[in-house]
């Protein structure tokens, strides 16, 4: 009975332990505060940017700006990558046409092509969103593709034997059957896109969480950097939790076919 409480207690202890060591070391000035600011100092930095914002913009605006870029890029990827992935899974010819290009760019570090994107699309949100879009695209495409490939043949045959036409098989069978894989892809994709957030806000941004951290690092404001990191992590974990929750709601049958 009591056994199930042990892991959460351990987790909390581990976190508290680290905070404690951190606080003690900071208190006795055992570490250079430039390298590791004290928890107190972080809290101050946080309340200040919460009240006064950072470099002219309130904190919430930085968060919203980043979220806007993420969301725009992600939705764009969703409405392009998923249909293309489904079609590629359905038709080897379509797949053959697009796959070489996707396989080519997929492993590339986003920073490698960011300069080109800025040259092509300018310094505005377009290039930032494009960078995030490319990050989001590949995992979504691949998940939709593999979703289609994993559909048991007999399910499609059952639909045909119930009188479905080819197009109806696509919309009524292929699409819903792929949803579990697509949701996995959504999580991977969001995770990956998120890790390119800072890179996307490197050029000519004046807002956004990523920019905030980069700007803070220009002035070696370790406190702001770490506060930014905390905010980013919490944000990411919340986004992922939302996706997981909606997955559970929308696909109660996932993993139980």
């Amino acid at each position: 009975m009591k056994k199930k409480y042990i892991p959460p207690i351990l987790s909390i202890s581990a976190i508290l332990g680290v905070f404690l060591i951190w606080s003690v070391l900071s208190y006795f000035n055992a570490v250079n505060p430039l390298f590791v600011p004290s928890p107190m100092k972080l809290w101050e930095a946080f309340t200040i940017i919460l009240k006064e914002g950072y470099k002219g913009n309130p904190l919430i605006l930085h968060i919203l700006d980043s979220l806007f870029r993420l969301t725009a890029a992600f939705l764009l990827a969703l409405v392009t990558a998923v249909p293309l992935g489904l079609l590629s899974g359905y038709s080897p010819s379509i797949r053959a046409i697009f796959e070489p290009f996707i396989e080519f760019y997929r492993p590339l570090p986003p920073l490698a092509y960011y300069t080109l994107l800025v040259l092509w699309l300018g310094i505005g949100d377009a290039s930032k969103i494009a960078l995030l879009y490319l990050g989001a695209f590949a995992p979504l495409y691949l998940s939709a593709l593999s979703g289609v490939q994993k559909i048991p043949q007999h399910r499609i045959q059952a639909a045909l034997s119930l009188g479905a036409t080819k197009w109806r098989v696509f919309s009524h069978i292929i699409f819903p059957s792929s949803l579990p894989e697509i949701f996995t892809g959504i999580r991977t994709s969001l995770g990956f896109t998120y890790t390119t957030l800072v890179a996307a806000e490197m050029v000519a941004a004046t807002s956004g969480l990523g920019w905030m951290v980069l700007d803070a690092s220009k002035f070696l404001r370790s406190d702001i950097i770490i506060v930014g990191i905390f905010i980013m992590s919490i944000l990411a974990i919340s986004i992922d939790a939302c996706v997981r929750l909606s997955e559970k709601k929308l696909l109660p049958w996932k993993g139980k076919e």
Partner: protein, 283 residues
């Protein structure tokens, strides 16, 4: 040497499914594997055919060809006198595993075929209610497939096939995954249903008792490549209901031995008359 001793009951009507000198081969790598050979088979409206055969003899392949999932390598495959036009709502299929659409409730699964037929909503409702009731799932109509037991899933799949009112239903060892008690009850239901609706059923099994219990016509496929080695009327078909246990029926043991020996290829296939005589002698 294929043997076709079955004499057409409704000799006047043209058979609904008709295979003539059908061959089936699979390409695996560079090798060609011949799976079925010289298949001549007529399925008439109202038949309940059970197909017996050892594992790998080509039973499933035969069903897939009739369903239209696969094309025969050579020979003629006609449905209702016309060339086979691929899977369609006239030919219902029930698979070994229930194979329901996991994102649709029982009700919605059954509705699927009706939607494809573009029936109006009220009509659909009526048909769903009828079949869901027939298979005894009325209480469970809004559950998702993963919330059902194996037997319930299989019954839902049968209802889904029936609801579109196909002219023939093909079943590939549909009850193999069920435990013996559920299995027995669902066998009884299927038999009842066939009696009531006079559907044409093509039923694959590897269980001899199941074939004897269900079919009015039993076919065995044997050999490699597989051929039809026996095609007989089930002499016990009409007596099954009266008996409390069909295994106690006179002639049961003889029929059973005949089928098993044919499957094991120990006994040369007999003519229909000889079989009749043998069974009559036992009675």
């Amino acid at each position: 040497m294929p043997l076709n001793t079955y004499d057409n009951q409704q000799a006047g009507e043209a058979p609904f499914i008709s295979l003539k000198d059908m061959q089936m081969e699979y390409q695996s790598g560079s090798k060609t594997l011949r799976v079925l050979e010289n298949i001549d088979l007529d399925v008439n409206t109202g038949d309940f055919i059970c197909v017996l055969g050892p594992s790998g003899c080509g039973k499933t392949s035969l069903l897939r060809i009739i369903a239209g999932y696969e094309n025969a390598t050579s020979g003629e495959v006609k449905i209702d006198g016309k060339k086979h036009k691929g899977p369609n709502a006239d030919i219902g299929v029930v698979f070994q595993q229930a194979n329901l659409f996991p994102w649709l409730s029982v009700e919605k699964n059954i509705e699927f075929g009706l939607k494809m037929k573009k029936l109006p909503k009220s009509e659909r409702k009526r048909i769903i209610d009828h079949y869901i009731n027939m298979v005894g799932l009325t209480e469970f109509s809004s559950l998702l497939p993963h919330e059902l037991s194996g037997g319930m899933k299989q019954r839902a799949a049968i209802a889904r096939s029936l609801a579109t009112e196909p002219k023939v239903i093909l079943m590939d060892e549909p009850f193999a995954a069920l435990d013996s008690i559920t299995r027995q009850s669902i066998q009884e239901q299927l038999r009842e249903l066939w009696k009531q609706t006079n559907k044409t059923i093509f039923f694959i099994t590897h269980d001899v008792d199941e074939a004897i219990f269900l079919a009015n016509r039993i076919i065995t496929i044997n050999g490699s490549p597989g051929t039809v080695t026996l095609d007989i009327e089930n002499p016990l078909a009409n007596k099954i209901e009266e008996a409390s246990d069909y295994r106690d029926l006179k002639g049961y043991n003889e029929l059973r031995h005949l089928l098993i020996n044919t499957l094991k290829n120990r006994e040369a296939p007999l003519s229909q008359n000889l079989i009749k005589a043998k069974i009559a002698a036992a009675e």
